[in-house]
């Protein structure tokens, strides 16, 4: 089990705020930290990896203390057995796929095995720049697997990829997590991604935990008693006398709908149906 309790002063768009977080991760769990950009998610991941230092707190992996501000313990990243997957993949451009893996751990048998498992073996002598974004991120995953990390830390790993590849890689990530018996912590602002991958979600806002629970309980609220409802964002409003007509983007589709005057461009809204009438609610 991994125990994490950290505090750190951060500087966001709206001035400074405290990242103040306390949670545990069970073995083999897939945990997601979900929140808007600038809420401190990435910083949290970097603190766990030892790439940044918390002002105060405590981090423990299966009884081994990584960080303890009271006892002045702070293991460097090299001494923490974490597998960090970066948003921009961070593959070494001077090394082939195979060399990237062997740099992590010089074990050819293991590298062959992992590359075959993630179906990258035929690309092993290619240089990273010749690969697609999706392939590069799979190589980055394979590379961290070389060291049997105690935890896989995924920092928005798929956000640079387009939708179709992203959804394929989500499946793959889930399989890798299962097949390699990993404990994973993903940071994401993509609701669908978190819903697909995570066993449990921690919702953070301005550095504080707002909610913890199963993705279903966190994301699927029923503030209107409709048959179905979708989250969307108002992207345009045409004014008329009594009502306005809004264009709302819901997961890539555009909907034109009558709204009342309170709704403004940029509002996040819940679009549902009640008694044959559309209902728009600000969230």
């Amino acid at each position: 089990m991994i125990k994490i309790k950290v505090r750190k002063k951060l500087f966001g768009y709206n001035g400074e705020f405290w990242l103040d977080i306390d949670f545990e991760i069970e073995k083999n769990e897939f945990l997601a930290v979900f929140g808007k950009s600038g809420s401190g998610k990435t910083t949290l991941l970097r603190i766990i990896a030892g790439l940044e230092v918390a002002d105060e707190g405590y981090i423990e992996f299966d009884g081994k203390v990584y960080f303890d501000s009271k006892k002045k313990i702070n293991l460097p990243p090299q001494k923490r057995n974490v597998g960090f997957v970066f948003q921009n993949y961070a593959l070494f451009p001077n090394m082939t796929v195979y060399q990237n893996l062997l740099y992590a751990l010089n074990d050819k048998k293991k590298a062959d095995e992992i590359l075959k498992k993630v179906e990258l073996y035929q690309l092993k002598d290619r240089y990273p720049y010749t690969l697609s974004g999706g392939q590069q991120q799979r190589v980055a995953l394979a590379r961290v697997l070389m060291r049997n990390p105690d935890i896989l830390l995924l920092d928005e790993p798929l956000s640079a990829l387009d939708q179709s590849i992203r959804s394929k890689l989500q499946e793959e990530l889930k399989n890798i997590h299962k097949n390699f018996g990993l404990t994973s912590l993903i940071v994401s602002h993509d609701m669908v991604e978190v819903f697909k991958l995570a066993d449990r979600v921690i919702l953070i806002n301005q550095g504080k935990i707002e909610k913890v629970g199963k993705p279903r309980d966190i994301f699927i609220e029923k503030p209107v008693s409709g048959k179905f409802s979708f989250y969307g964002e108002v992207i345009d409003i045409k004014e008329s006398d009594i009502f306005n007509i809004a264009v709302i983007e819901v997961n890539g589709s555009l909907i034109e709908i009558i709204v009342d005057k309170e709704i403004k461009v940029g509002d996040k809204v819940l679009v549902g149906v009640k008694g044959f009438n559309p209902v728009i609610k600000k969230v």
């Binding site: 990243p77 090299q78 070494f92 001077n94 060291r147």
Partner: protein, 227 residues
């Protein structure tokens, strides 16, 4: 052709010897210095940065004058050197090398700093989280991905040392076989109204400098890192 056969080649040999040794020493000094200047957050960083850039703005005579004070018979470094080696530092080959190292420092350090800064932070962090030490990261990840900057530093230093005049004259004087490098030999020839020799020396230096720079720009294009 007869002119070429009678030409004194010692200044060239001396010039290249100074240039090679200076470049080699500066590479060894420059990598840790640039690493520090590129990545450190310490307050004294700005002072060190300014100090390394000083040879760019100071007239060679000013630099040469102070170096002469330090390296001369009664200077601290000069005294120490004489007690160990047996001859004085100024007006000797070693003195010219030390002066060139200081004078060419920014030409090595500045391209290297640019190289270090061009490496994405995540590559370095990825290496650390894969359990690799700072030294291993430097040798396996950082330096191989900034080859273009290293080549630029090496060639600029080399070319700049070849063309150096003022500092060498102040520190080394004009001693044949010891400190008379090409640039000084040209000056010497002109003073003696020996325009033929000056012409030949100058033309050779001109061509060499051009090709050195040509090689840099060609290599730089080829060594661009692809992400």
């Amino acid at each position: 052709m007869e002119v070429l056969q009678n030409l004194e080649w010692t200044p060239f040999i001396l010039t290249f010897k100074v240039a090679f040794i200076t470049t080699f020493l500066l590479l060894i000094i420059g990598i840790p210095t640039a690493y520090f200047l590129a990545y450190s957050n310490l307050k004294i960083k700005s002072a060190i940065e300014a100090l390394t850039a000083l040879p760019l703005v100071l007239p060679p005579s000013v630099l040469g004058f102070y170096l002469l004070l330090v390296m001369g018979k009664n200077g601290p470094l000069g005294k120490l050197w004489e007690s160990i080696v047996g001859h004085q530092l100024a007006f000797h080959f070693e003195g010219v090398v030390i002066a060139s190292v200081i004078f060419s420092l920014p030409f090595m350090v500045h391209p290297l700093i640019a190289g270090f800064k061009s490496i994405p932070k995540s590559l370095i962090e990825a290496s650390y989280t894969l359990g690799k030490s700072k030294l291993s990261t430097l040798l396996n990840v950082i330096l191989p991905n900034m080859k273009a900057s290293i080549i630029t530093g090496i060639t600029l230093t080399f070319a700049h040392t070849i063309g150096e005049f003022g500092v060498v004259l102040m520190i080394g004087g004009n001693i044949e076989g010891e400190t008379r490098v090409v640039s000084i030999a040209i000056y010497d020839a002109v003073e003696k109204l020996d325009y033929t020799t000056a012409h030949i020396y100058s033309a050779i230096l001109f061509v060499i400098s051009f090709f050195v720079l040509l090689i840099v720009y060609t290599l730089n294009k080829r060594l661009e890192v692809k992400y």
